[in-house]
Symmetry: C2
Subunit: 410 residues, 2 copies
């Protein structure tokens, strides 16, 4: 007997058959005595259909009206899922974001949740109903409909779980949990039963795109136990925990994450003066180019080299800015490489253990893989390497850190 | 410079092209200096698509959830129309029923409007915006979404016009006004510039299905000037008036209405006692069979014959009930005829003029058409005749009452 908030994404509710499958599944959970609040996305394809209609009428449609339009997608799903539950003799009530007062700021298209009114939901739960809530949407203090942006339904689910102090927030996706690395590269990759939220943040920002970063951050802030499970198979999935005691039992390394499609840009021989990094990176940020890793080395001749990575698609644009800046700063040269990837080992365990970096560098060296950049945080070591070595590097590290079986104790 | 509430139905906004055409038209009205509140329906086909989805998941879906589902249809249209207006440099805001607080009772699927909050709309109008409101939908005092039932968007428009004390409520449809009769039967049928609301009520309930009865009643209650116009052509349309002074200038007869698909059911030789009509018609009403005309004749032998008309589809079912009642009441016989039609002449002028009935009966007699039932009200005379004579009767009456040109003065 627990209070569970469960979120099903667009693929999980993408057809009448799938909605029926979700309803069957909910009934099984209900049969185990759980109270259920279900957050759903728009049926897959629906949002694209609406966006195409809008684009035909106005390629530069006002964000307020786009939100009015897109929010209908989830509203359709909540009604249909409720109907499917009633069909099975299960009382259920659907609510739009506005109806449960998911109050947000007024930044249409990427609004942030401020508060939720849980009164009505609690009454329904007490009456034995399953509550079905539209994900991705809210309402601002003027009563205008807002949407939360990409992956917003995950955030809705976490926010509902926080407001209701739910026992667990369960995100059903097309994978059955978080893996030590991508199983397409390492077939022996292992599903993690448990991962800390900090590790999850590093993993998801690095390419294991199971959950939206915002949802994980939000869950961390309110200490909502978050679980990732498969929509299509049974299983325990992966629990994202905030429990410091249990964190200590975590293995040294939880996983190997990577990011393809990186590009590396370097400006060399810049006079080593205060404010130089800002003068270089300011215009890049102003151009809305996301910069990922930044590494600066100071040489002996009063100049410095600064290297950073951007998404491969932004490489050309970044170079243009950089060449202008280089002329201004009288830098020696600018160069780039768009055949690189980023690779990271992630684990809270490395906080209290030395030697992780060493194992990583040694493993890569043994495979003859050159490390181009290094960047470290408390629970992560990232390197940039040549693209063609990605698979080899991931497999070697996965094995070196013993991720197939029990974690190696270094 | 007037405040106009304009309603465009599903066909008028049924595609991107049509929405653009509506936007162009609104800009012309705006260019004339009018303040505009626009009420729109779901794009044609959309409601059917949603109903089909619901039917697949639950053929007996709860009415509350059906309303959550169907109300998305208009929400899509308001957003798209607002976008089209913005594209043309015209500021506009869309509102769902809930957002302008169209408060209704909680009878899902056929809710009645109780009140509207006009504050927000007035502010937008003052700021020069066109306000776009979702028709057909409202919200009950629990915050649950309701829908108003068939033709509900007309009712929304009239209610908005009443709340805002608009100068006129204009209903754009696929016809260019109310005609003296169906132009498919009488090519010379004439568009009426003006019709009283009472006549309109009789006309619309009798088959000239231009406007929903509820909208006309509602407009009458709040004295909202209501105009029917074509979505696709320019023109003045037909104004439905509530101005008693001007009513007096109305022609004797405004039009000839008719209802196909009628059936006539008779129970003969019923003991003529108090309560007999109730005993006969009570079970029919309980079975949700709509009874239209009712005629009772008292004979000389302490028995009576009672005849009523129902929709042809209900004829068999009505007969079954009637046969059971006939046995109970020891009536002499039950018979039916499902090849009849109803024909009515409508006009407020007949209040103050005798001879209308006589002209009607004489005209039908001259054509050899037998009258099977007669029923009269202050502004209407209805007869039931054999189906095959419908077109002949309508043409003869249209001519006899001089409806092609100026009304004849009898």
């Amino acid at each position: 007997m627990a209070l569970l908030v469960q979120k099903f994404g667009g693929t999980s509710v993408g057809s009448v058959e799938r909605i029926n499958a979700v309803a069957d599944r909910l009934l099984r959970y209900r049969g185990q005595g759980h109270d259920l609040v279900v957050v759903v996305s728009a049926m897959s394809g629906e949002t694209n259909r609406l966006v195409a209609l809008a684009a035909e009428l106005n390629p530069d449609a006002p964000a307020r009206e786009v939100d009015v339009l897109l929010s209908t997608g989830e509203q359709v799903t909540i009604a249909l899922l409720s109907m499917a539950l009633h069909r099975r003799g299960q009382d259920a009530r659907s609510y739009t974001g506005a109806q449960v007062n998911i109050l947000t700021d007024n930044v249409h298209g990427k609004a942030r949740i401020l508060s939720i009114d849980d009164q009505r939901v609690r009454k329904d739960l007490a009456a034995g109903r399953i509550v079905v809530v539209a994900g991705f949407q809210g309402v601002d203090d003027q009563g205008d409909i807002t949407t939360l942006g990409r992956g917003g339904s995950d955030t809705t689910a976490v926010a509902m779980a926080a407001a209701l102090k739910a026992d667990e927030c369960q995100i059903f996706t097309d994978v059955d949990g978080v893996y030590t690395t991508d199983p397409r590269i390492v077939p022996k990759a292992r599903r993690l039963d448990r991962i800390t939220s900090e590790e999850m943040l590093e993993m998801s920002s690095l390419g294991a795109k199971v959950l939206q970063i915002r949802a994980v951050e939000f869950a961390g802030k309110y200490k909502v136990p978050l679980r990732v499970l498969s929509s299509f198979e049974e299983g325990q999935g992966t629990l994202i925990s905030y429990d410091e005691e249990k964190d200590m039992e975590q293995p040294l390394i939880s996983g190997i994450a990577f990011e393809r499609d990186e590009a590396k840009v370097t400006i060399m021989g810049v006079p080593d003066q205060p404010g130089v990094a800002h003068r270089i990176l300011g215009p890049i940020a102003d151009a809305h180019i996301n910069v990922d890793m930044i590494v600066q080395n100071v040489g002996g001749d009063d100049t410095t080299d600064l290297t950073f990575t951007v998404h491969r698609d932004d490489c050309k644009r970044a170079l243009q800015f950089l060449e202008a800046i280089a002329r201004e700063l009288k830098a020696r040269a600018v160069k780039s490489d768009d055949h690189v990837v980023k690779l990271s080992v992630v684990g809270v365990g490395m906080r209290s253990h030395a030697g992780v970096a060493n194992t990583m560098f040694k493993t890569l060296a043994e495979e003859g893989i050159n490390i181009q950049m290094i960047s470290t945080s408390e629970i992560k070591i990232s390197v940039v390497i040549e693209e063609k070595y990605l698979e080899l590097a991931v497999r070697s590290l996965h094995s070196a850190f013993g991720l197939e079986g029990q974690p190696e104790d270094l």
